[in-house]
Structures are given as C-alpha cells and as structure tokens.
Subunit: 381 residues, 2 copies
C-alpha cells in the first residue's frame, strides 16, 4: 500500500518553455534567430529557431480532460494551453490536484536531449541557447519551488569539451541530472561504443548525478513503416529503452565508469526481465563465440544483470506486467513518473492510479518506487 504520507516524486515530466525563455537571456541582436514564438497565418503559433519552424503538437501541452478547450492536434497556442504547461506556479496547483510532490522535467523546444541545438548553423548561438535553457530551468522554473522541482540540464552535444564545461557550470548551480540521447548514432554523433564520450561520463561520475535517457531522445521512435498508425509506435515505446539498455550493457562505458547511473525514462519496465535474460544469453556466449572478442576488447567485465542492478533504473507510468515481475526487476530499480502535461499522463488521477498499482505491495516497496528510489538515484535530501 502507498502510505498517505509519502510525497510522490515523478522522474519524468515536461516543461513547455514560455515564449520568452530565450529572448529574456540572449542578446537582442539574436532575437530573430534564437527560439522565439511566431504567429502563423492560420491563427496558430509556432517556434522559430534560425530557419527552422517548430510546431508544438497540442498533445504534449495539455492534459486530459482538455483545458481550457480542445485544440487542433498539430498546433498549439499558448493562450489555449493549460497554464500548468508553461507556468511553474500554475503547475504546482496541478501537481497538488494530482497528488504529486515533485517533478523532474525534460525540455520541449530543445528536444529531450537538447539536440535541437545540434542542428544550429551558428554554433556560438547554439551554445548560448543551451546555456539559456539551463539558466531558465535552474534560475526560473526550479527556483519557483526548489523543493518540488528537480533540475535536469542539457549540454552542447556537438563538442564533448564544451559539454563537460556546461555540465560543470550547471552542477555548480544545482543541476541534479543530465539529459542524454538514448542513441546518439541516430543524431549523427559517435555511438556510446566509442570512447568519444568518456570525458563527459567522467564529469558526470564526478558530479554524482544520473544520466536520463528519454524515449525519442534520438529523434526517432521505433515503428514499422510510415503508413503505420500512431498506435504502432505507442505500442513499441519500450523497445526504444530496450535498445538503449542493450547498448549500455555491451559498450564498456559502465565498466570504465562504474558509478554512472542510467535512468531509462518513459520506457516502462514490463520488458526488462526478458531483455536481461536475452542479454545474459549473449553474455554467456562471450567465451566461446566470436563476438565475445569484441566485448572483451570493449572492456565489458560485468554481466548484464550485474550492470542492471548496479547502474540502471527504469520508470513506469502504469505498467501492470512490470508490477507482476517486480521480484525479477527489483523494487530498488523501479521509479515512477506522471508524464505531465503530455496527454499520455493520467492527470489528475496519477496518485490514485499509483495507489491502485501499489495495492499488493508492502509500504516500504511502494514508498521506494514512488519516492525513495528517486531520492537515492538523484541524491535528493
């Protein structure tokens, strides 16, 4: 059972940046090139960054029941959004209604790993934009309620030394987590199998914060074909986290940096025991088969189930299969998320739904999944 006194910590939510996040922080001469909101001829709004027009689908900036009113699917307007999407004070009221104490928010306009700015032509401006987002999330959003908003930051992905510098700058200001891509290969970046990222992993390990990889943070969700309805990729969401998990089992980075903590965000967990069993099978072939040589060369010394127990966490919104496999997954590996204000969110029923989920659990396990594990992984007081 979930004790009434437990203050729920959701480890995956989303901030919709208000229209002045970048123009408030970047020199005026760049205001037509840094992200800013424009009015479209059809009466809707969009963001513009350099020459890119960025639509905000209404599905990601409202919760259901819709508020204030239904919007066209493709394009939101700020004055039709639920204020809790972009206003940290309004959001607190929504969190109270939802029974959620604290949130860790991923960025929206910069994308889940901040990789919008990887596409910027002017890389000096792009770096300013990364810094502006981080200053916004630290100084404005999370400062509105420091005990209820846990800051997650982004880094300039195109230059690992700049990424280290920005990580260190933001950690000094209170950052508690780094957003990174579930699969940098898809973004045209070196994969986690290269040692390219080692300076960043070293800095993250030293900062003692987790790396959060949100599904879709490689700009791609797994699906079958362009004609497949959304239901197909929605069904396959967990497969994105499966790929990231397999990558990190066998890339060697977690052997070189054994204190790294990986959080697989919004991927669910019902697929975890199967994936670990398969990975253990691949691992067990290490001695006798040829791919074992590559694992040894990469310095992979621990088995997938050891790595999972020591370095990884998974997250559920509602995942009955995962709960039925909790003994295999391990209570201490599971965290909880509300996904506000995406319309997948169960708002305003997040806590009630989680209470249902926890009915067969003892109080300690429910508290661990709903709050305690997040406090441990994110080093919260």
């Amino acid at each position: 059972m979930l004790n009434q006194a437990v203050k729920l910590i959701s480890v995956d939510d989303h901030v919709i940046e208000h229209p002045k996040v970048w123009t408030d922080r970047i020199a005026t001469k760049y205001h037509d090139r840094c992200p800013h909101v424009i009015e479209l001829d059809n009466g809707r709004q969009a963001w513009k960054y350099e020459d890119q027009e960025i639509i905000i689908p209404s599905s990601i900036c409202r919760t259901l029941p819709e508020y204030p009113k239904p919007m066209p699917f493709d394009q939101a307007r700020f004055d039709e959004m639920r204020p809790g999407a972009y206003d940290p004070v309004a959001r607190l009221a929504d969190m109270n209604e939802d029974g959620v104490w604290a949130q860790i928010c991923f960025p929206t306009v910069p994308r889940f790993a901040g990789h919008l700015f990887l596409t910027g032509v002017d890389k000096a401006l792009a770096l300013d934009c990364v810094r502006a987002y981080n200053d916004f999330i630290l100084d404005e959003w999370c400062a509105a309620a420091p005990d209820r908003y846990i800051p997650l930051v982004i880094v300039p992905l195109w230059d690992v030394q700049l990424a280290v510098a920005e990580l260190e700058r933001t950690v000094a200001k209170g950052a508690k987590a780094l957003a990174f891509s579930e699969n940098p290969t898809v973004l045209g970046l070196p994969s986690v199998h290269a040692d390219h990222w080692d300076p960043l992993w070293r800095a993250v390990e030293q900062a003692d914060i987790p790396i959060c990889m949100h599904i879709g943070s490689s700009s791609k969700l797994i699906t079958s074909s362009p004609e497949a309805p959304n239901a197909v990729h929605l069904t396959l969401i967990g497969a994105n986290s499966m790929v990231a998990m397999a990558d990190w089992f066998f890339c060697g980075a977690l052997d070189r940096f054994p204190n790294l903590r990986i959080v697989l965000s919004e991927g669910g967990a019902g697929w975890v025991p199967y994936t670990i069993e398969r990975a253990e099978h691949a691992w067990s072939l290490r001695g006798g088969r040829l791919w074992g040589q590559r694992l040894a060369a990469a310095g992979v010394e621990r088995s997938p189930s050891e790595i999972f127990k020591q370095n990884m966490s998974v997250c559920i919104v509602k995942d009955d299969v995962a709960m039925s496999l909790l003994d295999m997954i391990g209570v201490e590996r599971m965290m909880w998320e509300s996904d506000y204000p995406h319309d997948d969110s169960l708002w305003p029923d997040s806590r009630r739904t989680f209470e249902e989920t926890c009915k067969g659990l003892d109080d300690a396990a429910a508290e661990a999944i709903g709050a305690g594990n997040a406090r441990r992984v994110f080093r919260l007081p």
Copy 2:
C-alpha cells in the same frame, strides 16, 4: 512434465540448400545465373546468383559442438559443414539425437521470406528460382521423411498475383505454411497497412495455413549502431517480433481475414504480456484520440488481446521469463523450436533443455507447447 511419449515438433529450423538445388531444376542455359556454388580464391565457397556473391556464415550451418571442425566465422564450405545442415537423411539422425520428431525449415540462400529473389534483375528467372526452391523443399527435402518434415514455402514477393498462383500451386502439392516478411516496408514493398496484400491473405486463409514471420525476414535485425557488437542485436531479437506484432494488431488485415494465423518465429515470448498491455493502452485511446480515427478507417475492430488469442502464436527456444508469464501469454499461444543448425541451437540438448523448461507444467501444457499447438496451427495429422 514432458511425457516421454511426446514427439516434439520444432516450428523453426533451417535448411542449408545443397549446391545443386537450383541447377537440378533450372534450364542449363541459366546455370551461371541461378544460385550455384563457386570456389573462392581463399579456398572457401560462396553462392552466386546473377551478379551477387552470397556468403554462408559458418555460424548458421553448424551446431555446437562444431562438426566436423571449426570453420572461419564468415565463410563455410560444404565439405566442412555438419551433413545434417544440407542432407535430410543425415539430419534425421541429428534430430533423433536431439530428441526432436519433426521440423519446419526456413530457407537459407533465398533468405527467410524468399526475398533474395526480389533483388533479381531477371524476374522470369527469379520466379523459376522461387519455384525451384519450393519444389526442392516439397519433393526432395520433405519427401525424405514426410511425417517428420513440414513444408514451408516462399512466394514471388514482387507480384501479388504471381504470389497467389505460387501459393496455390504449392498448397496443392502439400505446403503447410507460408514464409513472409516481418516488415515488408524494409524490403521496399507495400506495408501490411496497405490492402496490396489482400489477394495473398485471401489465398492463405482459403488454404488454411499459417504465415510464419522469422526475425530478420525484413533483411534487418534491430540494433543501435554499426559499431554495436553482435551481443546488442542478439539481445534485441524479440524486438523484431514486437514490431511485427504491433503492425498486425493495427493494420486491419486480421479483421478482413479473421481466420489468418500468424506465427512469430524465433522472437521468443517474454516480451509478449508487456507488448499486449501497451497495445491495449493504444487501443483504449481509440475513441478519444486522433489516431483512433485511423484505426477505425483501417477497420480494426478487435482489441490486441483478442487478436493475439485468435490469430497469433509465438515461439521459444529457451525463455524462462516467458514460462513464468505463461498464464498471461496462454499455453495455447506458445510453440517450441530448436533452430537447428544455427549455432544458437541447443543441439544435441534441445529435448533435455525443453524437459527442464517444462518441469513445473502439467503434462497437457507441456505437450501443447512441444507438439499439440503446432499440430493445431499447421493442421498436422
């Protein structure tokens, strides 16, 4: 427990075509363009089809313990292969040693869905090659032991009317299953979301045979990046079947042809309950959200769990997580496979391993997974 008297039926094995499969059946003037074996300068062998050179990795034509001797990973020679790979009589002895009564074999040179011939420049020759493979599997391989080899055929994927004709021709000769791609989009073919394939589904439904989709039958295994070691794609093998399952849940074909039977081969099953829960979530959004309109337009009338129960089967070699979820998956949905002669195979311990797997089961459930379900799905006597 698995009763000693149960004759195991493996629903996923592989024939390595002997060197004369095509030249025995195709006019002499085409013998330098239809698949034939060539000697390489390095002392190894390869197949040649038109201008393509096709290597046979040794990993797929031996079992472990290796026999007669270890081979280079990349290239096999027939005289170094285990004879059971290419000789149906030698294979019976290996099956006896392995405790396996019957096998359903996928093609090797034509690839798992016969899609090598889709790449043929001369499509008249390609059609001859498809027919020659089917005649080989029906008249030569399976004829060697008609009660122990269950014929699975391929069709010319580039022309749906030709595919229907070849299906009908081979069913008249005794074909018991059709090999099809888990994701035709990757092959450059219309997806299952189009009605393009309806004539083939109609013919299959009329023939009352299942469609078997082997992992990798879209020419692509899910992985993260080119640098990822094989262990990554080996871990993610089930994700290939997850994609196919989601596709078939939401494409409408199983509503238009409700008697079709889909077999997801070599994909394992420990991921099934999670995937169905996610698909049910997507399905439950059907009424209120926009993608529901597309599902309704596609004629998807049944929920994923109904479709799974009525139209699908999954297969395990060894999958402890799946066995622990058997109540959720359903005994009647699960079949067993030995994957001979791939080096993933547990030969010569297939039956012993399956006996271990079945220790907690009652005799009826063990018999259903090891044989009864295959008899029902493939309509065997």
